[in-house]
Symmetry: C2
C-alpha cells in the first residue's frame, strides 16, 4: 500500500476524542486531542471534533484522502449513522459522519471503536500478520473486536465482538446489564476492584487495607495487580480468577468461531504478566480444539492509539 498523502483517523471516547493524520505506513504525523465528554451535548461535540479536523488539515497544508471516525456503539453502515452508543446515551441514529464531513470535501466513514482497535493491532500492532483473531479490551468493562480474513468482522449490527456479557461459569456477581455470569463482572478493571472490595474488611484484605490507607474508593485493578506481584495471596487469587474467566471466554470463542489467536488490550492489559498463565490454562481446558501450539495470546502494543490507527486503516481501505 503506497497511498500518497494522508488520511485522518479519529477515536471518540467517553472522555476525550483523539484525531490524527496518518500515513499509509501507519505513521501518525500530527495529532489533536479534544474533550468529548457526553455532558456538553452533541452539537458542541461535533463542533470541537470539526475544529480538531481543521487544525490537522492546517498542519498538513493539504486535504486528507479520507477519514474514519471510531466510536463506541452500534454503527448502521447502510446509512452511515450511529444507531446507539453506551458513551452517549441520548444518541439515536445520529448522522455523525454527515455532520462531521459537511463541507469538508472528503469521504468520512464510521466504525465501532473496539473493532477499530482490533483492526489497528492487526495492521501494525501485536497481531500484525494475523488474518484471523479476536481482541479483548479490558477496561471499565470488557469490549472487543474480531478480524477475519484481514478485515473487520462487524456482524449484523456493526458491533460484533461484544465479549463483556459472554456467560462464564464461575461468575456469580450481578452485572450492570442486569444478568449474572457476565465475563466483565470478574475480568474488567471494575470487576477486579469490586472483587477486592468484597474482601477488604476480611483477614485476607489486610494488604489491600494497608495499600489504600482506609480510602476504600482508591482500591482499583492496578492496586490489586501490584499487590499480587508483591506476593499477596488474596490479590493473586483475584487476578488468577480474572485470568481463568478470560481464558474460559477465549475457549468459547475458539470453539464457536474457530479462532486460536487473541490480543488482550485496554487498561487491565497492564496485568498481562499475571493474567497470561491462567488465561492459557482456562482456554485450553475449555476448548478441545486448541492446543498449546495453536493457541496464541499476546498483549496489545498500540495502547490508546489502537482505535485511531484502526480508523485510519479503515479510511485507507475505503478509498483503495
Amino acid at each position: 500500500m503506497n497511498t500518497p498523502g494522508y488520511v485522518i483517523g479519529a477515536d471518540i471516547g467517553g472522555g476525550s476524542a483523539r484525531v490524527g493524520a496518518v500515513l499509509s505506513n501507519g505513521a501518525i504525523i500530527a495529532r489533536v486531542r479534544v474533550d468529548s465528554s457526553p455532558r456538553s451535548g452533541y452539537k458542541p461535540l461535533v463542533k470541537r471534533v470539526r475544529a480538531a479536523i481543521e487544525r490537522i488539515i492546517a498542519t498538513q497544508k493539504a486535504q486528507p484522502i479520507s477519514m474514519c471516525v471510531a466510536c463506541a456503539g452500534a454503527v448502521d453502515f447502510s446509512r452511515n449513522v450511529i444507531s446507539s452508543s453506551p458513551n452517549f446515551p441520548g444518541w439515536r441514529d445520529v448522522p455523525l459522519a454527515e455532520d462531521l464531513a459537511r463541507g469538508m470535501g472528503f469521504p468520512l466513514f464510521l466504525e465501532n471503536d473496539a473493532n477499530a482497535a482490533a483492526f489497528g493491532e492487526g495492521w501494525i500492532g501485536a497481531a500484525k500478520g494475523w488474518p484471523d483473531f479476536a481482541m479483548l479490551t479490558l477496561g471499565t468493562g470488557v469490549g472487543g473486536g474480531i478480524v477475519l480474513g484481514g478485515s473487520v468482522y462487524r456482524g449484523f449490527n456493526g458491533m460484533a465482538g461484544e465479549f463483556g456479557h459472554l456467560p462464564v461459569s464461575a461468575a456469580d456477581m450481578k452485572c450492570g446489564c442486569g444478568r449474572t455470569g457476565c465475563l466483565e463482572t470478574t475480568a474488567s478493571a471494575f470487576g477486579v476492584a469490586r472483587l477486592a472490595a468484597r474482601i477488604l474488611d476480611t483477614k485476607q484484605g489486610a494488604a489491600l487495607r494497608r495499600s489504600c490507607r482506609g480510602a476504600r474508593e482508591m482500591v482499583d485493578a492496578k492496586m490489586v495487580a501490584d499487590l499480587a506481584r508483591s506476593g499477596d495471596l488474596a490479590c493473586r487469587a483475584i487476578m488468577r480468577g480474572a485470568g481463568a474467566e478470560l481464558g474460559e471466554a477465549l475457549g468459547a470463542l475458539a470453539l464457536s468461531l474457530g479462532l486460536s489467536r487473541f490480543v488482550i488490550g485496554g487498561g487491565m492489559a497492564g496485568a498481562f504478566d499475571l493474567l497470561k498463565g491462567p488465561m492459557r490454562k482456562g482456554a485450553l481446558a475449555r476448548a478441545y480444539t486448541l492446543n498449546t501450539r495453536s493457541l496464541r495470546i499476546v498483549q496489545a502494543r498500540l495502547g490508546d492509539d489502537a482505535g485511531l490507527l484502526g480508523a485510519a486503516r479503515v479510511a485507507l481501505d475505503a478509498v483503495k
Copy 2:
C-alpha cells in the same frame, strides 16, 4: 447457477454414510446409503463408500462434475485430510479425499459435517436467503456450523461452530469433555435424558415412571418432550431449562459474532415447539444487541439430508 450435470454429496456419520447425486437446483436424483460404523475399520469403510459412489455413477450413466464428503471432525483443507474425528477415534490426518477419489476422474473435497448441514439449510432449507446465521444441531451432543456472507465459515481448524461446549451459567453437570457448565449437558438429547433420570425416583418423576414402565433406559428426550406437551410439570421444566440454556448460548453468539439468525436442527429439534419460547427469552435476556424484531430462530427443514445437500453445494461452488 445452472451447472449442467450433477455433483455427488456424501455425509459420513458414525452409523451410516449417505451418498447422493444432486442437481444444481438441489434436487437429489439418486441416493445410496451404506454402513459406516467405525468398528469395521478405515479400509472397509473406504471400500463401501467407493462402491456407493460407483453405484450412483452407474445410475446416472455419466461422471459427476465434482464431489464433496462431509464428515464429523477437524478438516485440514490445505492438505485435504481429516485431522481427527470424534466418530472415528483412530483417525489421524486421514487422506479420505485421496482414498475415495483415486482413479475416479473428478475432484473430491472434504467438509465438516455440521458446517455442511448449516450450508445446506442456507442453500435450500430453513435459512434460505440468509447470508449470515448459525445452525445448532441438537443430537446426542450439540454441534453446529456458521455461515457468513453466504459461505461456510470454517475457522482456523476447519471446525468452527463447536457450540456444545460453550459455557452456560446454570449448567452444573459434568460433561463428557471433563468440564462442567457445557451447553450440551442440558441442551442435547443426552442431557435431557440425564436430567430426566435425575428425577425418575422422585415424586416429580411419576409421569416418567409410568411412561417408561420401569424400563429406565427407555427414558429419552422424546419421552420428556411428549410428557411436557401433555402437561407434566417436571418434564415441562426440563424442556424449558434446555431452551433457556440454548437461548443463553444464542445470546452469546449474538454478542460475540453479531449474529441474529439461528437454525435449530438435529433430533431434538422435534421439540422446537417447546424450546422456541424459552430460547427467544434467554437470547434476548443475554444479548442487549438483539431485539424481538432482529432475532430469528427457526427449525431446520432438511432433516437428515442437510449434510448431504450442503456437501453437494460445496462441490458445486468448488468448480464454479
